[in-house]
């Protein structure tokens, strides 16, 4: 089966395929951060750190153990989630910007540790061999995207997700309602970092060379940009945001030298004209039901959810 799939992929322009895979990885990362920042309202500026933990774990599993890629990704995700929970437990007691700077600081610490570890080849970085799997990587990436979207949609509308949204709305009120705030925050952090780890594992095998410096502050900001641009807490938003921001540098490539300049300017203008994100405040359930010709009860569905 692998060969037929490989042949089918061979028909797609390699450059286009590369952009498509980049978008897929971006979606996985953005969905993870969306659970932490969008749903639970905890601003994290260190998402790339968990991505790097995932990337190095996954690369080392392939290099040293040679486990099948599916198992590899699961272990990678679990390691990142464990790291996330371990870090999250003490720092998630902080609120707002104090939490933000702590996650940022933690990300810098992780980067420096990786830069000094023998096993990750210090500042030279690691070359990653191709994954052990018969299915080609682009298809694995998009399978993971589909699973991640289903998982996060499931969380979004579950009892667990409602608890997270209550915490986002008001922590003290949520606590008064009997929600164990710290526990839910750590759990949402673990889910978000699980996805970050898996995204990192995919990234490592796709790029096939990883360096601790690739996962700096700017990478975290890139991912945050996807989430905010798409609309906080919105799953279609994360997908669109990831697609736009992953593809934008490629489409702006014709401007070569002005690329980052335009990108920075675009971020500002997007925020000024759609401060709640591209998909923020759009209710997809309503649009869907309208399209089916079944208008829902307006009052319950059009009320905009309050953003933090």
């Amino acid at each position: 089966m692998g060969d037929t799939l490989q042949m089918l992929l061979g028909r797609i322009d390699p450059y286009l395929l590369q952009i498509i895979v980049n978008i897929g990885i971006g979606i996985v990362l953005a969905l993870g951060l969306n659970v932490i920042t969008g749903l639970t309202g905890q601003l994290s500026l260190g998402h790339a750190a968990f991505m790097s933990i995932g990337a190095f774990t996954s690369a080392l599993i392939t290099i040293k153990l040679g486990l099948p890629f599916g198992v590899n990704l699961l272990i990678t995700g679990a390691v990142s989630a464990a790291a996330g929970a371990l870090i999250g437990y003490p720092i998630l007691r902080l609120t707002g910007d104090y939490l933000a700077i702590c996650t940022l600081g933690f990300a810098e610490i992780v980067k420096v540790i990786f830069l000094n570890l023998e096993i990750t080849n210090k500042a030279l970085g690691l070359s990653v061999p191709p994954p052990r799997s018969s299915i080609p990587l682009p298809i694995i990436v998009w399978l993971v995207v589909i699973i991640a979207v289903i998982l996060v949609s499931f969380i979004h509308d579950s009892r667990f997700g409602r608890a997270l949204k209550a915490i986002r709305g008001d922590e003290i009120a949520a606590e008064a309602m009997g929600i164990n705030v710290v526990r839910y925050k750590v759990q949402s952090f673990a889910i978000g970092t699980f996805l970050a780890g898996v995204g990192g594992g995919l990234y490592a095998h796709f790029i096939s060379y990883i360096n601790p410096s690739d996962f700096g502050f700017l990478k975290s900001i890139d991912i945050l940009g996807m989430v905010v641009l798409g609309g906080l807490g919105s799953i279609p938003g994360s997908i669109v945001g990831a697609a736009v921001l992953s593809a934008a540098p490629e489409f702006l490539r014709f401007m070569a030298n002005y690329r980052m300049l335009v990108y920075g300017g675009l971020l500002v203008f997007m925020m000024i004209f759609r401060p709640n994100g591209l998909m923020g405040g759009i209710n997809f359930t309503e649009i869907f039901l309208r399209a089916l010709g079944r208008k829902p009860h307006m009052k319950t569905l059009t009320e905009k959810e309050k953003l933090p």
Binding site: I221, G264, M271
Partner: protein, 291 residues
């Protein structure tokens, strides 16, 4: 040895403090993490360098010009990128700030190139002063002196002048200040101007200290200064000074103790530990939250 490292640390720390003040003042007034602040610091360094190298200006004059230019830049950034977003979610403003930051650093890269540039040797004649077994350079004394003067003038402006009173009122309660007839828009612009001027001075001093000015110098310096502001308790002006000095001194001591490859992690490790013990920073006010 100890004295030597202490002086090195204080010199580095006072530049962090200069940048941290801008973060803390802006945060105190509009609760925005102004991520473009590190880039203003970078622009300040470049303007200073340009004035000294191209226009053969006196060093102090060049620093003044850099401060003026950055004041305008700071006010302009607030007008264009933050003011339209004042009513929307804080994260949008944050992303906008990051956009400005990317814009400015890539602009600097386009104009000045990717390699680091140094000040000409004539910019400031460095001499060594021997004090016991410590070697103190006149450059370090200059940095400490200029920073101290700037911080004292800032304290004076904030504590003793009418506009400083208005600043404190606005940071206490934005809406009530507006009702009392304070032109809050003007105060916010003024705060940005003050903070940017301090960052520009910091930029010129750091450029001279390391003899390197580059388009990406703003990122790490900005992050560390932000860490310093949070360490001291964000929103508190003495806190930013204390945080900056503390981070500078510990960083220098850490490097002296042989952890130079962990240099950038030292500041953040201290920050994380302090926040766990004291969640609002060293001099931060304890916030009572109610539903």
């Amino acid at each position: 040895m100890l004295l030597q490292q202490l002086i090195n640390g204080i010199a580095l720390g006072s530049t962090y403090a200069l940048i941290a003040l801008g973060y803390t003042m802006v945060y105190g007034i509009i609760t925005l993490i102004n991520f473009a602040h590190g880039e203003i610091f970078m622009v300040g360094a470049f303007v200073g360098l340009l004035m000294v190298a191209k226009f053969k200006m006196n060093f102090f004059l060049a620093m003044l010009v850099a401060m003026m230019v950055c004041m305008l830049l700071g006010v302009l950034i607030e007008r264009i990128a933050y003011r339209p977003l004042r009513k929307s979610s804080r994260l949008s403003a944050l992303i906008s700030a990051i956009g400005v930051s990317i814009f400015l650093s890539s602009l600097a890269q386009m104009i000045f190139g990717a390699d680091a540039k140094g000040f000409p040797e004539t910019a400031f004649p460095v001499q060594q002063i021997h004090l016991g077994d410590a070697d103190i350079s006149t450059l370090q004394l200059l940095i400490i002196g200029v920073s101290a003067c700037l911080m004292l003038s800032l304290e004076f402006i904030v504590r003793k002048t009418k506009i400083g009173k208005a600043m404190r009122a606005t940071s206490e309660d934005y809406n009530t200040a507006a009702l009392m007839g304070i032109n809050v828009n003007m105060i916010i612009s003024f705060t940005f101007a003050l903070g940017s001027a301090l960052a520009a001075a910091g930029g010129v001093l750091v450029g001279l200290l390391f003899n390197a000015v580059s388009f990406n110098m703003g990122l790490m310096a900005g992050l560390k200064a932000f860490a310093a502001a949070v360490l001291g308790g964000i929103g508190s002006i003495p806190g930013a000074m204390l945080g900056g000095l503390l981070l500078g001194v510990t960083e220098v001591f850490g490097v002296a103790a042989g952890y130079s490859s962990y240099r950038d992690a030292i500041a953040f490790t201290i920050l994380v530990f302090v926040l766990m013990v004291k969640p609002t920073g060293l001099l931060g006010k304890k916030i009572q939250k109610k539903v």
